[in-house]
Symmetry: C2
Subunit: 415 residues, 2 copies
């Protein structure tokens, strides 16, 4: 485990998940992101894929040469083995890896040789997390969960009639983190009580739990009320989009008393906003009243912001501790924002085999004020096939050679 | 811990996080959702709040009487204590709770009496996770992260010029799960090595890590290309919105070969789509080519779907295993979808004090094929003040009474 400069020699401090090995049989976002999170905290995550790559190996966005930024992004720090998973002998090898590791994370159907029953035969304390679409095993992806969960009908401009999907695969990412939680929760019980766990998590249930947590289910059921579209306005408090004199856009928020006060001060809006408050007989100490008067409040602040460049607004807002952010594209973020650069400890400029040198983040979890583990690239598909067969399963070079000769396993060279 | 019928008597099976106690000092979404996730897996999570409630206690959506669905949704299963956190004596009580529990999750500023240094004075193996906006400690909320991270400029209709925020506080939810991961990862090291951990997680870093994982940073940096807006189309493969004869909308996806084949079969589109493939000299075995021809492919499928009601389409799609979902509002979801009802094991119809009886979910993590822990409501603010002071800190009734008399602590009755 490569630790940051000045920490690598400290024998007393090991990575949080040192000694945890996880086998991952996965594709797409949820399971891979969960495994990567654990890898970036120090676990040894070994992902197996079919020879030539799984269904997500060429998932967009791609480089000009057809390599997947997505696959590279979701598999950083793992070890990769490429095997013919249809072959019975290979399945025994994967089962042996799971037996050795004791922990298995997957979004493949947990049936047959990949069932908990089969995999725990030689490892009674196996911890396994299987991610599914719906809890009944039927298929659902982030996109179809999203359409059914309610958000596309409240996203987008006020008065719009068309559903607007969010582009971020949020449900997958939340589910992936939940899967990582489940792995560690079950591992905790195993450490204390010596027993395993057969777990599954349905993507649709994750989304249902989230919208319930945020109050949408209660609002629909008890208030019997459909949420309207509020465009980019922050529901129930004050948050709005503004335009600057140089044609940029920004978002500013006043939820806490301090945020609200600093936004009023920064935009010299206190008097005019007090006039609105008085005239409309509202109390802007109540965030709901700010929401009710948001159009008038925004209009006042827009006058001040619209007279100034983003740079001038930024300097004043930052000086007064306003909670705000510019709107920026992915390109602008990468080109201009120091938080997304090698000036941030989160990133290193790293060579990703087959793709090139670009910004690669590590775990966002800091320890003692630093991000302890160096960001690393994703492996080439099959980069660790021989190493894992040899070191983990104890196969000899001759045995590994025969597996290659029969086309049952593959390394990166022939890809 | 209330377990599901038929499991409660099994003394051998404890909840995954049995014995883990966490003190939570929090507001809004990220930290509370992380704490709730751990609570719903069996941890004893004690949230402290100011008397009368913290800054999120009246966060919208609200009932007609002004009670927050949001607060109730994000604090299910926790114990709640209400205290005067400005008082030095109370701060010592909270510190004593943290010392007892050994684990502290917060999004309050981790300074002064809430610093790791201060809180670990009597508990050298303290595990603490502090969530911040930016890593430098400056403020950022989900909304301002979102504007700066790139998605609003690729969300919404093709050709649109306005930024479109997604409404789901996705970064908060992802961050909350990451915080739960961090708690358990550090607890694992503590169980094995006896040492604590002072951790922090910046919301902006969580978002940066996510967009890097999905390939947006690489695409911007290496391809030097801004992602366009693709409306509701699934980027890089086939997924699209359709309208039915009865005016409903649905989303259908064909990423895997099986999904693609079943969608073609279900919509009787195979011949026409093969004609498109041949005429445009594309290969629809390549998901990227499906994306390139998505407008023509959708048009063919729309003819079949547009001739039928949602009920008819649904029956055929489900019969053939198509990956699809209807568009539905939160209200439609709650009224019509059995997955969001007491027919689902995820939910119980539960009385939430002050709000009423509604659908409350538990953890989406199933164990041995069942969701093991009964869903429970959120506490009333301060419902456990006396219980925690007595049972955890060992204060006498007289001591607790004096704290009440001096207005330093409060229970639910006087609220």
């Amino acid at each position: 485990m490569a630790t940051r400069d000045g920490r690598g020699d400290d024998e007393d401090v090991s990575a949080l998940l040192d000694g945890l090995r996880i086998i991952e049989g996965s594709a797409f976002v949820a399971a891979p992101s969960g495994g990567m999170t654990l890898s970036q905290l120090g676990a040894d995550v070994i992902r197996f894929d079919p020879i030539g790559g799984g269904i997500d190996h060429k998932r967009w966005p791609l480089t000009a040469a057809g390599r997947s930024f997505y696959w590279a992004g979701l598999n950083k720090g793992k070890r990769s083995i490429a095997v013919d998973i249809r072959n019975a002998e290979v399945r025994e090898l994967i089962s042996a890896l799971v037996t050795d590791a004791g922990t298995f994370l997957t979004n493949f159907p947990a049936k047959g040789w990949l069932s908990y029953e089969a995999l725990s035969e030689n490892r009674s304390d196996l911890v396994m997390v299987a991610i599914t679409g719906n809890r009944d095993g039927s298929t659902a992806l982030d996109y179809t969960v999203n359409s059914a969960i309610g958000y596309p009908l409240v996203t987008g401009p006020v008065g719009g009639a068309e559903p607007v999907n969010h582009v971020l695969p949020a449900w997958d990412l939340i589910c992936g983190q939940t899967a990582a939680v489940a792995v560690l929760a079950a591992d905790r019980r195993r450490l204390r009580e010596g027993i395993g766990a057969s777990m599954s998590i349905a993507l649709f249930d994750v989304a249902l739990a989230a919208i319930s947590a945020l109050g949408h289910v209660g609002e629909a059921q008890i208030n019997n009320e459909e949420r309207s579209r509020y465009g980019n306005d922050l529901y129930g408090a004050f948050g709005a989009e503004f335009k600057t004199a140089d044609g940029r856009r920004l978002y500013a928020v006043g939820i806490s008393p301090r945020q609200w006060a600093s936004l009023l001060e920064a935009t010299e809006a206190a008097d005019d906003v007090a006039e609105i408050e008085s005239r409309r007989e509202l109390d802007f100490a109540d965030e709901g009243d700010r929401f009710r008067a948001r159009a008038e409040i925004s209009a006042v602040m827009q006058v001040w912001i619209g007279d100034r460049s983003l740079a001038d607004v930024s300097a004043r807002f930052d000086g007064l501790g306003v909670c705000w952010g510019p709107y920026q594209s992915f390109g602008e973020l990468v080109r201009n924002d120091p938080r997304c650069s090698i000036d941030s400890e989160l990133f290193r400029q790293i060579d990703q085999p087959g793709i090139g040198s670009y910004l690669v983040p590590g775990s966002p979890v800091s320890l003692d004020g630093v991000l302890p583990i160096e960001p690393v690239a994703a492996p080439e598909l099959g980069a660790h096939t021989d190493e894992v067969l040899s070191e983990v399963l104890g196969l000899s070079s001759a045995e590994i050679g025969r597996l290659h000769d029969r086309g049952l396993v593959d390394g990166p060279a022939s890809l």
